[in-house]
């Protein structure tokens, strides 16, 4: 029973973090592996499934608010589906600890990019303005 409660609580925390815009479920996975000793494969699978109900609701709202830009979106979605089949199978074939460490490195790289995101965006915008001139 406590297991159920802890899962609820950690899901809740992960959901808040995701809801505030930070990487969706990306922080849920470390929460599950660090505090509940989930295996990396299980944490990833749980993260994937957990994302779906919330995403459906959010998407409906976003579409209503006309925030979703669909021009060319199939050029993104279809390749992403194909790539994800490959990488999902790859992920399954990898050792759990290796996958966990790879994910950790991914998080670290992302965090460094995030740190400099403002500077990066500013630099790109400057370049865009230059190009327009």
């Amino acid at each position: 029973m406590w297991n159920f409660v802890f899962c609820l609580i950690l899901g809740f925390i992960g959901g808040i973090l995701g809801g505030m815009g930070m990487g969706g479920g990306t922080l849920l996975i470390p929460l599950l592996t660090i505090f509940l000793s989930f295996s990396q494969h299980l944490a990833q699978a749980v993260n994937l499934v957990s994302f779906i109900p919330m995403a459906i609701i959010a998407l409906i709202l976003h579409i209503k608010n006309k925030l979703v830009k669909t021009s060319g979106i199939l050029y993104i979605i279809i390749p992403s589906l194909l790539a994800s089949i490959l990488s999902s199978l790859l992920s399954n074939s990898l050792d759990g600890d290796f996958l966990k460490h790879s994910f950790a490195i991914f998080l670290i790289i992302l965090s460094v990019i995030q740190f400099f995101s403002n500077n990066i965006i500013r630099a790109i915008n400057k370049r865009k303005i230059k190009l327009k001139k």
Partner: protein
């Protein structure tokens, strides 16, 4: 549409789908900046559009993981309920706190999480 743009979009899709499937997530963190930079979408539009992109690929990956028996419903269900509830609160909080420092705090938390997962 120009061929160059089509290739860019396909590239975005391949990277996003690959990462999302490999790590069971994280595709959103990749695709949002790419949409902002390559398609010049505003931040809100990029976030909204990213969900439209990530949802199908996540669904597909989820199905593969369930079939592969990597998913456990007895823990997955409470986590999903928690995530859904937390997500509602989180988006509500987001409206109240639009802050650039938030990005840095989250980046730091991500860094800590990554280091912890790497070392321990």
């Amino acid at each position: 549409m120009q061929l160059k743009k089509k290739c860019l979009l396909i590239g975005v899709g391949l990277i996003t789908g690959f990462i999302n499937g490999l790590f069971g997530g994280g595709g959103g963190m990749i695709v949002v900046p790419l949409l902002t930079i390559l398609l010049s979408l505003e931040e809100k539009e990029a976030h909204a559009t990213s969900i439209a992109i990530i949802l199908p690929t996540t669904f597909l990956s989820a199905v593969i993981q369930i079939i592969s028996k990597n998913y456990d419903f007895s823990v997955g269900l409470p986590v999903a309920i928690g995530v859904a509830s937390g997500g509602i609160l989180g988006s509500f909080l987001l409206k109240k706190t639009k802050d650039k420092t938030l990005v840095k705090i989250f980046a730091f938390v991500m860094l800590l999480a990554g280091v912890k997962m790497l070392i321990f």
